[in-house]
């Protein structure tokens, strides 16, 4: 038994590399859109968000030997992307005009598009005004496919804390966004 365990430690380095690369490729397919959306929620600029998400994924690749667990990888990636996006945004504060992008349905007409863009601008302004500890759970929850438990895992917070922060974030948004009512 001991001998078998000792022999298992002597896996060829190339084989270890291949296995890690395969695992990272799976994580990349799973999480690259998540990283992009997290960056976009902070920057709201598609190209900047792709650059920041790319930086975060390259850092994740460098540290992948410590991040092989899926939940740990996603949590690390979300936090790192968020932090990098905030840094990038602080560096880009000089820009007077920020490009607000909004994914719109292809079937919407010109009037609806203008109205939707205005609503999106209001929405993002209200989100930006939230304190950091409320904004991050709200954005994570709003990214498709994330429930409270997933947000708690991503942010390494208790589920009760996530629920409480979501409640307060929504209430503050409601107060600012009268058009929702």
């Amino acid at each position: 038994m001991t001998r078998m365990r000792a022999e298992s430690l002597w896996v060829p380095i190339a084989a270890v590399d291949d296995e890690l690369e395969r695992e990272f490729e799976a994580r990349l397919a799973d999480c690259s859109t998540l990283a992009f959306r997290v960056a976009f929620s902070v920057l709201r600029h598609r190209e900047d968000a792709e650059d920041v998400a790319q930086d975060a994924l390259v850092r994740a690749h460098r540290s992948f030997h410590k991040l092989r667990n899926r939940d740990r990888f996603r949590a690390w990636l979300v936090r790192t992307t968020w932090r990098l996006a905030l840094d990038h945004r602080r560096g880009e504060e000089r820009r007077l005009v920020r490009q607000f992008e909004h994914q719109l349905s292809a079937t919407t007409g010109a009037d609806e598009t203008a109205e939707a863009r205005e609503r999106a601008n209001h929405l993002w302004s209200a989100i930006d005004a939230l304190p950091e500890k409320l904004r991050m759970p709200l954005v994570m929850f709003s990214i498709a496919g994330h429930d409270v438990a997933e947000v708690a895992r991503l942010l390494r917070l208790p589920e009760g804390t996530v629920k409480s922060r979501l409640f307060h974030a929504r209430r503050q948004l409601q107060e600012r966004l009268q058009w929702i009512r």
Binding site: W10, F36, R62, Q103
Partner: protein, 161 residues
Amino acid sequence: MDPLNDLDRELMTALRVEPSAGFAPRVRARIASEPAAARWRVPRLALVTGGLALSALAVNLMFVPPRSSGSDRAVLPHQSLAFIAPLPAAAPSISPRIESRSEARVLSDVQVSRSEMLALQRLFSGEIVAPPAGDVPVEVVIPPIALDAITLPAIPEGERQ
């Protein structure tokens, strides 16, 4: 209509964005262009083995006392020296009291040069005979020292300066 549901829908719509088609290939290309010396490429077993070897070396250097490696020096245990030159049993000890075990360990091995050890062995075995006492002068005679008086030549008063 529940306003919270409307809000959730607005948020989800706002965040339903997809990266461009070239995003993933760009990430892969950038990772491929990274230097190959990624940290996780170093086998963990090699790191553990190297660490253990360094630790053992450090412990060895810390706890093993340094020994002289000169070719002309030999360690003469105190028992051998006692055999050559036994001390009188009744002689009062005037040696300083040994306080610590490390000091006792250092003093237990008397180090002498090989030539000195051989000379001592030859002396006590009788090979070397001390010079006869007659050759040594019994009394040193020092002749009396004679001091001559210094006389100064007479110089006239006006010739000074």
